[in-house]
């Protein structure tokens, strides 16, 4: 199963809808609660990040039923993460005041995603940030 969702820049109103849909789909398919929660947490953090920081992009959700793996890919259209090393440090944040009003910008997002995912790959340039996480 593969689904692609489009995310618009600063679409705070719909923040979390994609993660909610993915969670509900996986729940219906009977994915184990602990994995389901890890996927949900990482997906939601990454979706929020894309809305807050990027110019918009796509979220791709793949379920490899034979291998029992969930793969989440986040590909945005820039402007990229200036200093990835700094962004990976707990507490580091460049979130806007609007994002902070929603309860985000604690600087825990990327750290948290890396913690809950079994595989975590991130590449960033001015053209875009590409994040891929695998759960199994």
């Amino acid at each position: 199963m593969k689904k692609v969702f489009t995310i618009e820049k600063e679409d705070f109103e719909n923040a979390g809808i994609v993660s909610s849909q993915i969670k509900k789909t996986l729940k219906l398919l009977g994915l184990e609660t602990v994995i389901l929660r890890r996927v949900s947490i990482a997906c939601y953090e990454a979706e929020i990040n894309m809305i807050i920081h990027s110019n918009g992009g796509k979220i791709t959700f793949e379920l490899d039923e034979d291998e029992g793996r969930v793969i989440l890919s986040f590909d945005d259209r820039g402007p990229g993460i200036e200093n990835l090393e700094q962004a990976m440090q707990p507490g580091w944040s460049t979130a806007s005041s609007q994002a902070r009003k929603l309860g985000f910008g604690a600087g825990m997002g990327l750290v948290n995603m890396k913690r809950v995912a079994d595989e975590f790959d991130i590449h960033s340039s001015k053209e875009g940030t590409h994040l891929r996480m695998v759960f199994q």
Partner: protein, 118 residues
Amino acid sequence: MKLKDILMSVKASIAYLEDESILERQYQFAFASDLMSDALALVREHQEETLFITGLNHEQTIRTAEMLDFNVVIFVRGKIPSKETVALAKANGISLFYTEDTMFQACGKIYEIGVKHS
């Protein structure tokens, strides 16, 4: 600790009750924060027995609860959840309560009656 006793300790009112039986359910843990990222990063187990205490009255609070499998949210500082927030909670089976207490007061009272940090 039964939810109804916890709610009584902070004189909480009901904003949305998914099911009466939840009031009799046991909750051993709580997590309190206005930062959703902190909840997403720091709550690692016992989610179904954990109360989420927050002053952030926003739909993203419900989204966070949904992702973490929390089924009870207590809003502090007398924040009555909006219609939109209640609708989202209803769609996800999450019960909502609110208390006039500040975060510090609510956490102190709930801790005192035996609920522990998640």
